[in-house]
Structures are given as structure tokens and as C-alpha cells.
Amino acid sequence: MENKIDLAVNIAGLSLKNPVIAASGTFGFGREYSAFFDLSRLGGIAVKGLTLLPRKGNPPPRIAETPAGILNSVGLQNPGVHAFIDDEIPFLRRYDTAIIANASGNTVEDYEEMVRILSEADVDAIELNLSCPNVKEGCMAFGSTASGIARVVSRVRKLCKKPLIVKLTPNVTDICELACAAEAAGADALSLINTLLGMAIDAKTRRPILGNVMGGLSGPAVKPVALRMVYQVSKAVKIPVIGMGGISNGTDVVEFLLAGASAVMVGTAGFVNPYAWVQAIEGLEQYMVENNCWSVSELIGGLIL
């Protein structure tokens, strides 16, 4: 019976066996979590944010716990795109799951070069990170205005030979404006939300907890904001939306699908429960069985108003 349920989704040419993807920056390159479950169960893996050259990241502490969530200021520590291609893709290809390369840069030229390199690499899609709150240059500077997004996306579009996903920041007044700019500039899909800029202070020492003072908030605490943004954006654009922000289980996945997401990413919840990704898939499947849904597409945008 259960075999009849079709969990597969297709996002702008990227086909996923199920709509649950590991969120960038929370899953490394998959190696650590492969000790807990078969990575082939995942719809896809968005790898740690990549840059042209290796990056050391921000000074510690990089993590602060907040009610029902965390702040992080990791700051895109990564081995660089070439090390990713040489050392990590061969490992990830041992599994039957989509590889999504998450790319960042300081300048438009960096983004172009990243997309040029990744277009020739064995990845299934490119997710442009225009929304990291933890690096000074680039990223957010482009990602927080419609004109910035239009500039980067239109330039990389010309070079991109893979499905192009643009990841949006929630730290703006009107996320729909950004979403429309990305769509108009040629994005194949959108992913949202990246983390919400926040801060934590230790009253005892009177100092900020994070070494970088501010950081990005994620986890269950951000879910209502994320759901709202996914709902608004998916109504504002025609391209598919990948929703994320605080998803911890199958019910959360269903909620994001109903709000209009075509797929979801799960991140922070996995730090607490290493089986969160797998349980999100199982929970979705169970919901579908119980509600006589045969295909995920029946749920996408299915919110009853």
C-alpha cells in the first residue's frame, strides 16, 4: 500500500526522491551524519556554504542557545570550492541523493566564478547564498536589496548550467520584492529563509555571547516567521519555493508544503535529534497515508483559507 505513495518532487529540473533536503551549513558534507543513517534516504543535501578560497570563519564562541533555537556566527568556514569538488563530491556520490552546492562570494565576479566552476562539477543544483548574515562583505550586501539580487542573479544566470536556486534572507522589510527580483533575473527556484539576524548577551559578564557579537537565529523559534514568508513568497512568484526555518518533524514539513513550498530543508533540528531528517520524511509519509494523499503535489499550496 505505502509503496503507492509518491514522495518525489521536481523543482525546476532538479528531481528529488522526496522533498526533504538537509539545510546548508548544518550537515557539513554529509560525512558526520552518515554514521547515523543512510544518506540515500534524503531527497538531497545542501552542502556547507562554499567560497572560491578556503575560509577560516569567525572567532569563537560561534553558537549561543536561545529559547527554542540557536544563534550561530560560524561565518562560512569551508575548505573552498576546489577541495569540495576533489574531496567531498566523490564521497557524496556514493549515495543516491541530490547534491546541492551552496555558493557564496564577496563580489559579483566571485559569484560568477563560483557558478562557472560548479556548473562543470558533478552537482545537481546550485544554491546561491545571497543571505549569510555572518560575513561582512558580499552576500547580505547583495541579498538585502532587489537591485543587488537582480545584478548578481542576472549575471550568474548566463553562466549557470544547473538548476539555479536563490536563497533569500528574512532580514528585509519586504521579502516578496526580493523574491520577484530573483525570479525576474532568472532564478529557477527560491529557498528561504536563511537565519534571522539576532544577538545574545551574558548579563553576568555584560559581554555578547558570540565572538562576532551578532549571529543568525534558527530552529523552532523562527518557524512562524519562516512559514509566513514561504506563504507570501510562494504566492508572489511562479517558480518553486523551498521552505525552511525550524522544521523538526513531518507535521512541520506538511505545514510548509501547505504554505506553498515544493520542498523543504531541515537544519538545526538535526543538532538535537540526528534522525530529524529521516523522521521528517517518515512523518510526511505517515501523514499522507492517514490523509489519503498519493502525491506530495496534492499538499503543495493546499492551505485552506
Binding site: G25, T26, F27, G28, R31, E32, Y33, A35, F36, K48, K56, G57, N58, P59, P60, P61, R62, I63, A64, E65, T66, P67, A68, G69, I70, N72, V74, Q77, I209, G219, P220, T268, G270, F271, V272, P274
Partner: protein, 258 residues
Amino acid sequence: MNLIHRVRAIKQLNEDTFLMTIEAPEIADTGKPGQFVNVKCGGPHAYLRRPFSLCRIDRERGTFDIGVQIRGRGTEALSRFCENDPIDIMGPFGNGFSLNREDRRIAVVGGGIGVFPLLQLLREHPASEKLTLLGFRNRNQVVLEESFQNKSDELVVATDDGSYGARGFVTSLLESKLEESPVDRVFICGPALMMKHAVEICKAKSIPCEVSLEERMGCGIGACLGCACKVRLSDDWDYAHVCKDGPVFSGESIVFQE
């Protein structure tokens, strides 16, 4: 991997510190001194797991102990667990201390709750002579003295205010003891400033040392890159990660923050 284990015993060590015995045969079986477990403390405001180093392992019973000082939301929630409660624990993680046969004489230096991982180290280390130096803020903070006594050839306890044992910092004890007779390796765990000084003392005497670090962790397994610490490379520096590359590092490799 089964994450649900059982609390077997809780023993109060002092006002705000307790020892929790957990039954988890796989962890007891594979756990090594210096490794840690990542515990879901529960409670409404402790979202992330908390790392605790293995303080004592009883492989026959399939149990291990962690030492907990109530310092925040997580440890506060943990203090509410009772005997026989189920508890969600991942591990063992991290690298652990070196257990070298060539190290005939060793010294362990612990400060405050940093003493906990050193107990299992003393229990398993093959050295023939073990010197233990423990420092606490005051007499009320002294924990596990007898257990350490049983596993050491010599034990000296110091308190900052002199209310118990020697007066002063444990690092001064280390300095004078190494002056008397050198050791092959020193193992250090405690507050950052204490570890920094202890490493400097060892360096001056050219004695290799290992430190066990503590840092705020996200995932605990090396995926999120949250628990960074600065390490020296031959002509540069980089961030290593306490959960995966550590928590034990050679003392010389760590760049302690000011």
C-alpha cells in the same frame, strides 16, 4: 543507534555538583578517557544537547558517570532527573587522551569541574607513577578527593582561598612539583586561564602536555563547525573543532584567547 539510556544513580557531591551514573553498555564499552557524551537535558529552555566528559566508566556493569555542576538551563534541567528515568544521550564522541606506554610518570592537573575527565584517565593510564594536582575555589567545591586518591601515587589538593589543602593556584603546585622531579607527560583540564598557565609551565620545562577544552557546541559531531578553537600550524593558525578534532589537544598547539 539507540539514544535512549537510563539513569542508574545520582550522587550529590556538593551543593551544586552531582555525579550521574548512566546505564549504556555500548557507550561504556567503547568510551575512552577524555571522550564526551552529548546529553539532551530537556526542560523548556535547554534546546541543544550539552557535552559532558566521561568521568568514570564501569564496563562490567555497562555504566558510566558524568560529573555535573549546575551552571545554566541545561544542567539545571539535568539536576531534575531521577533514578531509572530514561535519558537521551549520544556518544561517545571526540578523541580522548593519549594512553602511551612510554609515559612512565604522568601528572594530571585539574581545576574545578575540569577534574572529571582526569579520573577515568588515571584509571586507565598505564603509567607506573601518577601525580595528581587538583585545584578548587574553596573547601566546599572540593569533589571526588577519595576517588582521585585511590588512583594516584600522590595527590595534592589546593584551594584558592586556602580553606582546604594548600593555599593558591594549582598551577603553582605544578611548577614546584616539576621542579622537584620531571614527568613524561602532563594532562590538564580546567578553566581556560589555568590551562594557559599550566601549558606555559610545561613548555618552559619541555614537558609534553595535553589539554581538554570546553566550547559551546551545536551538533557535537563536527557538522556545524560551531565549537571552534584556535590552533597553531607550522607558520600560520587555523580553527579546529573541539567536538571532532578534540576535546583533547596537545598543549603547544592551542592558541589561548586573551
